[in-house]
Amino acid sequence: MHWHSVRSPFYHLLVGRRFGVSSAWERVVHWKVARETERSDQTLTAAPDDFQAALMAATQSQFGASGGGVAVSSPPRSGGGEHSPTTNSTPYDRQCHSLVTILLGAFGAALINGRFKIAGDMGPAFADIVVDGPLLWPNLFVGGVLVGIGTRMAGGCSSGHGMSGCSRLQPVSLVATSVFFGTAVAVSSLLLWVI
């Protein structure tokens, strides 16, 4: 038996599309768009012959009954292309599940190792190095906005580019990870230098 022929979940996660938490966020945040995309995808893949016939009919109405020798391609299949930002084999509700399970996993780990504690701040280090008091929440919001814009603009985050992409030695991920890590080092060093 060849390992390459084993279509197990682990194999799919290993060799399929890169895993990205920011992408899960993206699909959950834009859940209406994701839902419409998935419905369209299901419609196309459920009746490929109807889709092809409709395309042919539209082509013939535009170019005449002979069709001008135009060949109509098959409908797109979901999960087939890693580069396409619109196709995805994991629905948005499952992406939402994955975010919830990260929360549950962290909660369980915090309970087990005794770290769980309800806190209204981000800890003494954050107060010393970044900000404390009434500016804490606006600072976190601005930081979150930068993370949200930046990860979408770069097409990935520390898991998508950093973990999956770098482990596959993909040039785009090596560049992205170098830049975002280097920037975080520079900004953190600057914060430490200022205090």
Binding site: W3, H4, R7, P9, L13, V15, G16, R17, R18, V21, S22, A24, W25, E26, H30, E82, S84, P85, T90, R94, L99, T101, I102, L103, A106, G108, A110, K117, I118, M122, G123, P124, F141, V142, G143, V147, I149, G150, T151, R152, M153, A154, G155, C157, S164, G165, C166, S167, R168, Q170, V175, V179, F180, F181, T183, A184, V185, V187, S189, L191
Partner: protein
Amino acid sequence: MHATNQLRVHGFVDLFGLALGASLGMIGFGDFAELNAMFTLQDLRMLFTFMGAVAVAGALFYTFTKDRPKGPPIHRGIVPGAVLFGTGWAISGGCPSIPIVQLGTGYLPALMTMAGIATGMRAYRKLNARYSHFDTGACSI
């Protein structure tokens, strides 16, 4: 992908999420002190942990795959996007998964980071459609 196998993949994604949340919490990525110590190069334990995880994932990937999928091309959004992300990570202590881990550990203000991430993503979609038109090739399962 076959429907049954897809269900298995979804179940595996849930397990993967649990494992990811637990491991990130245990390693200390949700702790700003640990994160800042890594970013200021005072304590490289977390960096080595991250590099170890990348090495293991890479070894598995190259051992078990023949037809390796190509990554998206390098595009104009990579550098500015990564700069914004790195800045946001440094000042909030949260890459997209970390605020969730922080919330699971009990840090309630992490909700604000999460609200910021959602707002940033919504803003980016509109700005990109109107101005920048980057095709970033999003990563996802």
